[in-house]
Symmetry: C2
């Protein structure tokens, strides 16, 4: 499984899901987007902070771990840090897999582990 | 939940996942792409046929059903029919939801139901 992990201060972009190399039958892109409401009050942005080196290596380790249960062809994770305005993505995950069950399983398990085990924090900006 | 269902003979495009209206915190796009191998032999394309009216209404009904368990903000399904070359998408599903769990649940359950209950067939082209 090809694994790529990045942390960036720039707005995120997505590659699009409509084509693959013909080996992957399932392509999925997910974005976690900042909502206009946090704990019931309106906000304009969230601020994300990370221990960048540790966050990157931890995300890589989690993906490597999950590969045993959810073997996919490739996964790319880009997490934005700094100020992220409402309506913009804080994280984008793209997965290509032979079949959709592994892709959905990896995506869901990775997002759960990310929240628990990766040193990235958010606060109202 | 806004529901949109389409069947088309044209190549599919995706909208991109990196922004939402600020009400949705999870945006997911999935493509089911034609693989270069079917039952162990190399292929160049698959041919999809549908009872179009019935397929459209059945997809709408399934999504309406699933909304009870997985209430999302919007879902759009576009299924391509006719000849779909290897590496191109036969279906694209885009979902926006407040939280990712409903989005992932809807996507996975819809794809399972689609394969069982919607009159769309594929054959090697």
């Amino acid at each position: 499984m090809k694994i790529a992990v990045e942390i960036t201060y720039l707005p995120l972009s997505a590659q699009g899901v409509t084509t693959s190399d013909g080996a992957s039958g399932a392509v999925v892109e997910f974005a976690g987007v900042v909502r206009g409401e946090e704990d019931g009050r309106a906000i304009e942005a969230l601020n994300y902070e990370a221990y960048e080196d540790m966050a990157r290596s931890q995300m890589g380790k989690i993906l490597h771990d999950l590969e045993k249960n959810f073997p996919c062809d490739s996964v790319r994770v880009v997490h934005r840090v700094g100020r992220v305005p409402v309506g913009e993505a804080a994280i984008v995950v793209r997965i290509e897999a032979k079949h959709r069950s592994e892709a959905f399983g990896l995506l869901s398990a990775f997002m759960d582990r990310l929240k628990m085990d990766v040193p990235i924090w958010k606060s109202v900006s």
